[in-house]
């Protein structure tokens, strides 16, 4: 088998893993958009906030320590314990995200019921900056490493197996494999929740028709807090995986920028769309990068090279899809009634 093809296979495998992460972020958007028609610009910041909170709790930091010290002249930074078990820290962070969901619904969107989508969207922009500020104030802005005991480094089994097959060992990070498994479990869990539980059915009903949902006794407020909580949980998972990979820092909120092309591709209301869209973007991006960086292919054909493709290629790919399917891969066909 030609070397280039073998390399490309490795690239595709890695692209799939990255795609899973994109899909995770996109999933958070879809949940909120389906149930409330709100395009949540703050989804990326929520992932950042969740990851920072997780690290902060795990390291036993005092929230708002800078603020407290500046106000009272104290010198506190840590609680008496310096490390909280990962599972407990995760559970506490989940509670914080539920609290955030409650806050967002009660304080912001409760007062904006029935407003134009653009107003709701603007509110989420405000929320994003507010949340970023709160995250900074609460936990400080230093880069942190997030270690909840996930395996990291090259997966030796895959390395050896592929070496035996192709004479070339694939480099697949254990963390990516874990992320893919966690994402798969999360999606399966969400689907089961929506399909079989009382709250999940209420969620689907609200996503379909508010009036009808009210008439069968469903509280819209409750469902909206629920979907923001779920989106917060998804953000926590995405933030944890991403944070474990590249450190918890403010640029983490930029993963939202990766979710946008995924949504354009998969449709804003489709959970399978978010997943398949994420995978296509992940693989497409990785393959394109691989092709243009192998000068002997791209350079030979076009006579020049491209840089920083990861910043823009996803959008180009999404736009190309949009031309052929404006409603996205799985989105419902938009038919204007006249």
């Amino acid at each position: 088998m030609p070397d280039q093809l073998i390399f490309a296979m490795e690239v595709v495998a890695n692209g799939l893993m990255t795609g899973v992460m994109y899909a995770l972020v996109a999933l958070g958007f879809v949940l909120i958009y389906k149930a409330s028609g709100i395009f949540n610009y703050a989804q990326g910041v929520m992932a950042l906030f969740a990851a920072m909170t997780l690290v902060g709790i795990q390291e036993g930091r005092v929230p708002f320590a800078h603020l407290i010290n500046a106000t009272f002249g104290t010198e506190i930074h840590h609680l008496p314990w310096h490390s909280v078990p990962a599972l407990l820290a995760i559970a506490l962070t989940v509670l914080v995200m539920i609290g955030l969901a409650w806050f967002v619904q009660k304080v912001v969107f409760h007062h904006l019921v029935g407003q134009e989508p653009i107003i709701l969207f603007m509110a989420t922009i405000g929320l994003a900056y507010f949340l970023e500020g709160v995250a900074d104030l609460m936990w400080g802005s230093e880069i942190r490493t997030l270690d909840i005991g996930l395996p990291q480094g090259i997966n030796t089994i895959i390395d050896e197996t592929t070496f035996n097959w192709f004479g070339y060992g694939f480099f697949i990070d254990n963390l990516d494999i874990v992320a893919a498994i966690v994402a798969a479990v999360l999606v399966a869990g969400l689907v089961a929740f929506a399909q079989y539980t009382k709250q999940g059915r209420a969620m689907r009903a609200v996503a379909d028709d508010h009036q009808a949902a009210l008439s069968v006794g469903i509280s819209l407020n409750f469902v909206w807090i629920l979907v923001w909580s779920l989106a917060g949980f998804v953000a926590l998972v995405a933030g944890t995986m991403w944070g474990a990979k590249s450190g918890v820092q403010f640029s983490l909120s930029l993963i939202a920028l990766k979710a946008l092309p995924v949504l354009m591709l998969g449709g804003f209301t489709s959970i399978p769309g978010a997943i398949v869209g994420g995978l296509i973007i992940g693989v497409g991006e990785a393959l394109f990068e691989f092709i243009v960086s192998s000068n002997d292919i791209f350079g030979a054909v076009f006579g020049f090279t491209l840089n920083a493709t990861e910043n823009w290629f996803a959008y180009v790919l999404a736009l190309i899809f949009l031309v052929f399917r404006p409603q996205g891969l799985f989105g419902e066909k938009i038919i204007e009634r006249v």
Binding site: K198, A205, D208, A212, L214, S215, I218, S219, L220
Partner: protein, 273 residues
């Protein structure tokens, strides 16, 4: 203040009409300058079929929306089961045992007929999210019970053949029937129907009339319905409220309102459809 008191009586066809279930007292509802309901009072008795009629724009749907909590009147009180009801959100009204259908049909278009009907059972599901995870057996039993109730209503309304069809694909008349099924499966004490026969052909109207009578007879459900077709109303209802331009211009048995001069005048000025 309390609600009107009545002695129960038996109708010629053997149904029992009881005491007051719901009473509207001096309800006024305004939208900006438009007075949709002006100082209207009437009551609904247990087990009766109560009709609200009147020309287009008379305020009938608004009245149903006040009862179901979708609109909050500026003035007046709503009494239900002997107590005055504070301003209440529609989902809480639904949980009190008041189910409804809409003039413009509000179904979950993305779901099948069966799933739509099952949403009507949500209030009967006691086991919550965690409970469902922990007491799997109990949740399963509950689910079975809810399924049985849904199937019973499906049989009752003769929609077995479309159980699995997405409601978005159904013709208008069947959608109306599915909406009725969803309301009925909640086992409501009071059922509100906003123009259940609008846009139907004669045959469909006859079917729907029969279903409404059967629901009232077999389940003892109290029904308040809005209808345009005078003939249908006169056949179905025990008592009729007549509205015109937001005011009540008649209230009584079908025979009484038929001979009411004000009602006759209001209806003469209206083109029937």
């Amino acid at each position: 203040m309390t609600m009107m008191q009545y002695e129960p009586y038996e109708t010629p066809d053997g149904r029992t009409i009881g005491n007051t279930l719901m009473e509207m007292k001096n309800i006024t509802l305004r939208f900006g300058g438009v007075v949709a309901i002006q100082d209207i009072s009437f009551d609904i008795r247990e087990g009766e079929i109560r009709a609200i009629i009147g020309p287009n724009g008379a305020g009938k749907s608004s009245m149903l929306n006040v009862i179901s909590g979708f609109y909050n009147p500026q003035e007046g009180d709503v009494w239900f089961r002997g107590t005055k009801r504070p301003p209440m959100r529609p989902y809480l009204v639904a949980r009190q045992g008041i189910a409804r259908t809409f003039q413009n049909i509000a179904l979950f278009d993305g779901m099948s007929v069966l799933d739509n009907i099952m949403t009507g059972r949500l209030n009967h599901m006691k086991t919550g999210f965690l409970g469902q995870a922990i007491w799997w057996g109990k949740a399963e039993k509950e689910e079975t019970l809810n399924r049985e109730k849904a199937e019973e209503i499906i049989d009752f309304l003769e929609i077995q053949s479309i159980r699995k069809t997405p409601v978005g694909r159904l013709p208008y008349g069947l959608k109306k029937r599915v909406e009725l099924a969803r309301a009925l499966v909640a086992e409501p004490e009071l059922l509100l129907l906003d123009e259940p026969m609008a846009g139907m052909n004669v045959e469909e109207k006859e079917d729907m009339s029969r279903f409404i009578l059967d629901v009232n007879d077999e389940y003892g459900t109290t029904i308040a319905l809005i209808e345009h077709d005078m003939g249908v109303v006169m056949d179905l209802s025990d008592r009729v409220v007549v509205m015109d331009y937001g005011k009540k211009i008649g209230d009584g048995t079908p025979d009484e309102v038929r001979n009411n001069q004000e009602v006759i005048d209001a209806y003469l000025g209206v083109a029937h459809d």
